[in-house]
Symmetry: C2
């Protein structure tokens, strides 16, 4: 996705060989026009799929998820990291974040996923794939199906993309970064 790659090159900051800071347009300050274009691009990439809901995880997946949901004209559900006091029965799993070196809970109310759902999972980054695998576990607990995974930035030098593709996920990453070595951003293709 050309606009995205241009923004990554222009505004992304390589912090070290595995860490790219994109909080000026993707996950702290967010460019709404980029989000809208990402929504349209995800619609294009999954245009042949029947999708009933978009699923993501708080917080930085939400802006992407809501724009994808707008283009697909379906609800967006975001998994919470803490179960609110008002939530009824829920699906729960634990995800390990290598980036933050901690485990966190992922919770979705049973009210919002059911066995008829065809789910598009979206997220901002794909590194080791654990967030997607956790969300996928929750989808399966509901008896629903993951029909696609849409990622904004895949760290192609980490294992998540290979793991998900090997498991048969229909994964589309809008930008794949193969290296951040020597302070240089190298895209796949």
């Amino acid at each position: 996705m050309k606009l995205l790659k241009e923004l990554i090159l222009k505004k992304g900051e390589v912090k070290n060989s595995s860490l790219l800071k994109v909080d000026s347009f993707l996950n702290h300050q967010i460019d709404p026009n980029l989000m809208f274009e990402i929504g349209k691009e995800l619609k294009e990439r999954f245009k042949d799929k029947e999708i009933t809901k978009v699923l993501t995880i708080e917080a930085s997946g939400i802006a992407i998820g809501i724009m994808a949901a707008l283009t697909f004209n379906v609800p967006m559900v975001f998994a919470k990291k803490k179960k609110p006091s008002t939530m009824n029965d829920s699906f729960n799993t634990t995800v390990h974040s290598f980036t933050k070196n901690k485990d966190y809970n992922v919770t979705v109310s049973k009210e919002f996923l059911n066995e008829n759902d065809k789910i598009l999972i979206v997220d901002d980054f794909l590194a080791m794939g654990n967030a997607v695998l956790g969300l996928s576990d929750i989808v399966h607990m509901a008896g629903a199906e993951v029909v696609g995974v849409g990622i904004v930035i895949e760290k192609g030098f980490q294992d998540g993309g290979k793991i998900l593709r090997d498991k048969g996920f229909n994964l589309e990453s809008l930008a794949i970064i193969d290296s951040l070595e020597n302070n240089k951003i190298t895209f796949r293709d």
Copy 2:
């Protein structure tokens, strides 16, 4: 806002005389078309204002904030409740949530607010007003100006609306609920 009030009446669940559950369309499962209409309504309500950024707080403000940002064609910044390891210098304050009965930190990187900014603060709920006051503190730390506050649901039976209006905030709430007594939702007007 008619569509919003209709959804609140149709899908809102009164849990007790101060708690309205709207997580089927506003803060867990989210209706993207409602968000888009909320963005347009906020643009209409603040059409005479110069706004350079939309500011909200994770997680349930993000979907609202990004749609408002889209209609104003400005960036959206969301305050984080934990400071990420990659964040440089930041503005910080503490907010007390009466709903959750706890204090939490609110953090915005100094990179994304400056003295030229004219800020629209948005959030899903207004109860005692503490989240808005905390965000406003952060805006003032940056030397910037709060030109408006856009709220989706104001709990008119709690003090936040009065406190903010008395302080001179230009506050627009898209639905004001004056009572949840006897399991009945009563709107102002």
